[in-house]
């Protein structure tokens, strides 16, 4: 448990107790294109690491290489310090939860859970004890004699989880385990998985393309795109300080204002927007004046009440286009500096101002919340 906490407090400094590491791993299926391009990733013991990315970005491929079902075309994968490229999957001792559960249809729940214990040669008494414990862990004790076909998706998911944990693996891989569940059940299972991770102190590599899931569950998130890790950071940092436009757009909602760098100073960049307006922004991955840029601002960091604006905020005129009522928040779409899909979110509080389409307002944000990123 302590290692997990350590990983969370000091996520960058994980090299010294690295449990899993990918070193310059490349993977190609057809010999022509690289599906995974130069992957370097170190996972600490007890960490909950999520691989997040759009479809086809190579997440499953990475997981399969770690589990041993695909071989890395080049590079090395280390598990507890030992290279495992030549270790067959069944000797790696890695628990795995598949997206479609992969419970053996011809076995009951009990037999499914007994399977990994039997192949390890455990005696009946020991097996039964472990099965009971694992089923209790996922609160499915009463379903021992059911077959997978007689259970709901959520129940199957729990059993699959119990089966991956029953033989006490140090490392558990989960490939979109909750993809097939409805929203409510998914949120409940996220909580359960998180609880198990903390109780058992296991290392989890979790694959998802649901950013909410990634942010709520993980110690660190690796954002994949196009076979590369775009950013590897704890959730808060990922959300608040995306390092490039892809991450900024992939995680959460984001306003983009295209422009050109006028001047680049220490920690501030002056950007001339397409309408000619000058704003200050925090430079992230731009290198020189004259570069094209996209300034990204989170919708919830935009203010319209003068008394609420942070000191040093940049103000700008905006025209309300429409307001979408979303229950907890109001989503105000407006035209700002020539951009027509600029969104501001305001909380739906008592006495909150109701905007009307066509209304002119002045909005503002702190230059630290405006991040000048690479254009894409």
């Amino acid at each position: 448990m302590s290692t997990a906490t350590a990983a969370r407090i000091n996520p960058e400094d994980d090299v010294k107790d690295s449990f899993v590491s990918f070193e310059r791993v490349q993977k190609s299926y057809d010999g022509e294109t690289l599906v995974v391009k130069d992957l370097n990733l170190t996972i600490a013991k007890g960490e909950f690491l999520t691989m997040l990315g759009p479809s086809g970005s190579g997440k499953t491929t990475c997981l399969m290489m770690l589990a041993g079902f695909e071989t890395a075309t080049s590079g090395e994968i280390l598990l507890a310090g030992r290279p495992i490229n030549s270790v067959p999957p069944h000797k790696r001792g890695i628990g795995m939860v598949f997206q479609n559960y992969a419970l053996f249809p011809h076995m009951t729940v009990g037999e499914n859970l007994a399977f990994p214990l039997k192949v390890r040669g455990l005696g009946k008494a020991e097996r039964d004890a472990k099965i009971v414990r694992a089923l209790d862990m996922v609160q499915m004790g009463r379903l021992v004699n059911r077959r997978p076909a007689q259970m709901s998706g959520g129940q199957q998911q729990r059993i699959a989880l119990a089966r991956a944990l029953v033989f006490d693996p140090q490392l558990v891989l989960m490939d979109e385990p909750l993809g097939a569940l409805d929203k409510q059940l998914r949120e409940h299972m996220q909580f359960e998985i998180k609880r198990l991770h903390e109780e058992l102190g296991i290392t989890v590599v979790y694959v998802t393309h649901d950013q909410g899931e990634a942010l709520t569950m993980s110690d660190r998130v690796a954002v994949f795109n196009d076979g590369r890790i775009q950013q590897l950071a704890p959730p808060a940092e990922l959300y608040e300080r995306p390092v490039n436009s892809f991450v900024a757009q992939f995680i959460g909602e984001n306003n983009k204002l295209p422009g050109r760098i006028e001047a680049l100073g220490q920690g501030v960049a002056t950007v001339r927007l397409v309408t000619g307006e000058l704003i200050d922004a925090t430079p992230v991955n731009i290198t020189a004046a004259g570069q094209e840029t996209l300034v990204s601002i989170r919708p919830e960091r935009i203010e319209f009440k003068p008394e609420m604006m942070p000191a040093g905020a940049h103000r700008i005129g905006a025209q309300v286009l429409d307001v979408i009522y979303m229950g907890d928040v109001l989503r105000v779409r407006m035209k700002v500096a020539g951009s027509e899909d600029f969104v501001m979110k305001c909380r739906n509080t008592l006495g909150q101002r109701r905007f009307k389409p066509g209304e002119l307002v002045e909005i503002g944000w702190h230059p630290e919340d405006a991040r000048a990123l690479d254009p894409i």
């Binding site: 589990a67 079902f69 999957p89 069944h90 628990g95 795995m96 598949f98 479609n100 990994p116 891989l173």
Partner: protein, 427 residues
């Protein structure tokens, strides 16, 4: 609520739950039946032609065959007087009255030209007796009493008790004798059931051989088909379709062509032997004999029946996703354990279907053993064909076929008990 319970009382239902009724007061069951009956009638009309076809082409012939195996009136219909004497004197040795009846029937038979038929029928039970009937019928018109001496003067064998036993059993149109013969048994002159002499026991051994052959062929087919089906099921669809065409190719070639090509390949002067001799693997003096014996039958039949094993296996394997085996491997199973405990059990329905299909087809196969089987590669169906076509003993053929049918049904039943018939999947 009141009329609901009234309704329940009218329909006389004593169950605790009151039957539901529709809004217009009819019971729900009646309404449902009425609503469905039209659809049912229509469905029945659609399947009616097929039903008739099955009745005419399947049920009737099999019934006919079963009847024929126990019924043959060639003797009883054409020898009415003698048959009547047998009826009146059970167990009695033939006296003058019997001979007189024989002569009168033979005279009639000569007039009707049925002596051959009668002789053939008795000949089934006692070989060599057909000519006695035709000869005696020819002379019957000139015979004078006492008939016993006159008949014995034609041929002393007419006094043989075995002949009279054979005639007595042929005098009733219904008989189990064909079944006895099909099981290598007969009746001695006293009417007791005994096994036929050693040298004439052919059927039982051929039944056994047929089942052993079919078992071997099924096993070989399974061993060959399993990896092929697995490959077809795991390849991408485009490639597997191409290979599937190759698997199905034999279906589009005439059975005869395929069998003769095996003959060309496997005979002593055939392609395979020539190649072996040319490469020096086999001595020219003792070329392998792979044709006109059991080996030939097994090889050719495995080839012909292989698709029947591949197709059901493929149908079952295709939807099995690779993640089951992957899951097993990640749980610590070696590839062999994963195959045996996870993959194989999921393909059992296909194995069952394929094995049953191939076995049943093999048991009844006729053309291939007839062409390439030689003397040792004959199966029971070849005897059935022989009795249908050459000896014209249709009753015997029917009895053999009925035993075969019973054996197959027995196997089917056993399979159902052991594996469960719902565990069969053809696609």
């Amino acid at each position: 609520m009141a009329d609901l319970s009234a309704n329940g009382a009218i329909t006389g239902s004593n169950v605790a739950v009151t039957p539901l009724s529709t809004t217009d007061g009819r019971s729900l069951k009646t309404a449902l039946a009425a609503a469905q009956s039209r659809a049912k009638r229509r469905a029945l009309l659609l399947v009616l032609p097929l039903l008739l076809f099955i009745l005419i082409s399947f049920v009737l012939p099999i019934g006919q065959m079963l009847l024929r195996s126990v019924h043959n009136d060639a003797f009883s219909a054409n020898m009415p007087v003698l048959s009547a004497w047998f009826d009146e004197n059970p167990g009695k040795a033939p006296d003058e009255a019997a001979y007189s009846a024989l002569v009168s029937d033979l005279r009639q038979a000569r007039a009707d030209k049925t002596a051959g038929l009668i002789g053939t029928r008795v000949n089934y039970d006692l070989a060599g007796s057909r000519s006695m009937f035709t000869a005696a019928a020819r002379k019957a018109p000139e015979l004078e009493p006492p008939y016993r001496d006159a008949v014995l003067a034609i041929n002393a064998d007419w006094g043989n008790p075995a002949l009279w036993q054979a005639m007595r059993s042929a005098s009733t149109p219904y008989t189990a004798n064909f079944y006895l013969a099909a099981l290598d048994m007969t009746r001695d002159p006293q009417g007791n059931i005994v096994r036929v002499e050693e040298s004439r026991r052919i059927y039982v051994s051929h039944f056994v051989k047929t089942f052993v052959f079919s078992g071997v062929i099924t096993a070989i087919c399974l061993i060959l088909a399993y990896p092929v089906a697995h490959m077809l099921a795991t390849l991408p669809l485009g490639k597997s379709n191409l290979l599937m065409i190759l698997v199905l190719l034999p279906f589009w070639t005439s059975l005869l062509v395929r069998t003769t090509s095996w003959m060309v390949l496997l005979q002593e002067q055939g392609v395979v032997n020539n190649a072996l001799v040319a490469t020096g693997t086999v001595d020219p003096a003792n070329r392998l004999s792979m044709m006109y014996n059991q080996t030939g039958t097994v090889i050719a039949m495995v080839h012909i029946l292989l698709p029947f094993m591949i197709l059901p296996l493929y149908a079952v394997m295709r939807p099995i996703k690779p993640h089951y085996v992957r899951a097993a491997r990640s749980l610590g199973a070696s590839s062999w354990t994963a195959f045996r405990q996870v993959y194989l059990p999921q393909t059992l329905p296909g194995i069952g279907a394929g094995a049953l299909l191939v076995f049943i087809l093999a048991v009844g196969y006729y053309i291939t053993p007839a062409l390439v089987g030689g003397a040792s590669g004959q199966m029971i169906s070849n005897f059935i064909a022989y009795h249908m076509q050459s000896s014209l003993n249709w009753s015997m053929a029917a009895a053999l076929a009925a035993i075969l049918l019973a054996a197959v049904l027995l196997l089917y039943w056993l399979y159902d008990r052991l594996v469960g018939i719902d565990n069969i999947k053809l696609g």
